[in-house]
């Protein structure tokens, strides 16, 4: 490509957009809508995952030490646990700490705990946070094998159910996103096709004077990219306001739900919008020009 062709290409692009402005506007609106929907689903999915992860983190394994275990035996259990894999964090709660915790929990009846100080019925306990859900059954088995461990409590079934729901939601969302992307491309294809049809005579005359496919198609490809670019910028701005509105509504009314601030995702979302928008524009354009690439 010669450098002095660049102003020509951009001139043709904007002439084409202006000449075909209604269809171009329709394309921008549809692609914009698809991008906002895509962005909303991605952000929803992301927030759902973050919330599910925080629920899953609450699941911990509780190892109850035999009531009669001596301090040495407790230390041995602690050593054995620390040697196991898939462990993120271990916290030891002694029977005394457990009693204090219960006393402070039921503060108004704390006098009832006074009698238990001498003959504490609570066991020593280890709480364990693990790294990988899928390896939990193995971890439980290993914990049960440690001498002096009386019981191992866990909520792995709940964790697994949550994991399955998370995967299911992701699967549905990904398909939905793919369908939206295909719809966007089809809209662009129609817009560019209309532009090409309008200029069909001109294109055929260009062929006779020796224009290459590159020369003929580049203004259309830039046209598709510009449609994608405009749609992605508008979609990003709309997404930001929409998200911040939802964010403040949830933040004020449902503090239990974690919502990621927009600033944390804005860069990735912006780049993704730009890439998806421009890609949809260019791919749609290339597909619609395929028939006209014949010499």
């Amino acid at each position: 490509m010669k450098m002095y062709s660049i102003p020509y290409f951009f001139g043709q692009t904007f002439k084409g957009l202006w000449r075909n402005k209604l269809m171009a506007l329709a394309s921008v609106i549809v692609l914009f809508s698809c991008l906002v929907l895509m962005g909303s689903f991605v952000l929803l999915l992301y927030n759902v995952n973050v919330n599910i992860d925080s629920v899953v983190q609450l699941n911990e394994i509780v190892v109850i030490v035999d009531y009669k275990a001596t301090d040495e035996e407790v230390q041995e259990i602690s050593d054995s646990i620390s040697k196991l894999g898939n462990i993120a964090e271990v916290t030891f709660i002694s029977k005394e700490e457990g009693l204090e915790s219960e006393r402070s929990r039921y503060e108004e009846y704390s006098y009832l705990f006074n009698e238990l100080t001498e003959d504490n019925p609570l066991p020593d306990v280890f709480t364990i946070r693990y790294k990988d859900n899928s390896e939990v059954p193995n971890l439980i088995y290993q914990l049960k094998q440690i001498p002096g461990v009386s019981k191992v409590n866990n909520r792995i079934d709940i964790a697994n159910d949550i994991e399955n729901i998370k995967n299911g939601i992701s699967f549905v969302f990904i398909w939905f996103l793919a369908i939206l992307f295909v719809v966007s491309i089809f809209v662009i294809i129609n817009t560019i096709k209309l532009g090409v049809e309008m200029r069909n005579k001109e294109i055929s005359a260009m062929r006779y004077i020796g224009a290459t496919n590159f020369f003929i198609t580049t203004p259309f490809v830039i046209e598709g990219a510009v449609i994608g670019l405009i749609a992605s910028i508008l979609a990003f701005i709309a997404e930001r306001y929409l998200y911040e509105f939802v964010y403040s509504a949830i933040h004020e009314n449902y503090s239990i739900i974690t919502v990621i601030p927009f600033s944390q995702v804005s860069l990735v979302l912006g780049i993704a919008f730009l890439c998806v928008g421009v890609l949809a524009g260019v791919v749609g354009c290339r597909i619609s020009l395929r028939r006209y690439m014949k010499i």
């Binding site: 010669k2 002095y4 062709s5 020509y8 005579k201 001109e202 055929s204 005359a205 260009m206 062929r207 006779y208 004077i209 020796g210 224009a211 290459t212 496919n213 020369f215 010499i295």
Partner: protein, 228 residues
């Protein structure tokens, strides 16, 4: 030089458009190709433009063998040709100046060259003073002169004119033909496809006659073939 060597063209639907054509056109020649509708003239043009490929024989234009030439070379080959059509095929939304300039822009000529060359070409066809006009503001004869100017823009070796006088006022037909002759005297090969007897007879150039896909007559200083 253009060389048809036993060229045949059979379309996929089985129609035989041209059969065993042998024709040699030297550089700088002026040739009329005549024939009735459906005789094969258009196919001959399409083969020369490499819109269609020969199905038999070989067709060479200068250094290009059109039968084996890969598709990506076609635009570069076409830059050696200047095409003039009966329906002009001008860019209606461009001015006369832009129409001619565009042909140069397509092949990547810089603006400085375009600015220098376009007025010269427009002066050859006598349209310098109308450079700001749009094609729809011109008469048929003037539009065809613009088409000629555009065909000349990239200094092609060969000018192919397909019925160049068909849509023109009878008084202006000679004007266009005189221009083509003038271009020919400057060393360009000119091929004119026509079925206008009086024009062919008046200019007394080489006449190639095609009938039902066969080359039936080829004579220098010839007249319009009476059987056509």
């Amino acid at each position: 030089m253009i060389e048809f060597n036993d060229v045949s063209k059979i379309y996929p639907n089985g129609v035989i458009a041209l059969e065993h054509i042998n024709l040699k056109i030297d550089d700088g020649e002026f040739v009329f190709v005549v024939g009735a509708s459906g005789a094969g003239k258009s196919t001959l043009m399409r083969l020369l433009l490499r819109e269609e490929k020969v199905t038999g024989g070989t067709l060479r234009v200068g250094d290009y063998d059109l039968g084996t030439m890969p598709n990506y070379k076609i635009p570069y080959y076409r830059r050696q040709l200047g095409m003039v059509f009966q329906d002009f095929r001008l860019f209606e939304k461009k001015t006369i100046y832009e129409n001619v300039a565009f042909a140069m822009r397509v092949i990547g000529e810089p603006s400085s060259v375009i600015k220098r060359r376009v007025p010269t070409i427009l002066s050859i066809v006598g349209l310098v003073d109308k450079y700001k006009s749009f094609p729809t503001e011109l008469s048929g004869g003037e539009q065809q002169r613009v088409a000629l100017a555009r065909a000349l823009a990239n200094n092609p070796r060969i000018i192919i004119a397909d019925e160049p006088t068909a849509n023109i006022d009878p008084k202006l037909k000679m004007e266009i033909m005189n221009l083509l002759v003038k271009i020919n005297t400057k060393g360009k090969t000119v091929i004119v496809v026509t079925h206008e007897k009086n024009i062919v007879d008046q200019f007394q150039k080489r006449v190639v006659t095609i009938q039902e896909g066969h080359l039936v007559d080829d004579r220098v200083g010839g007249m319009f073939h009476e059987d056509v």
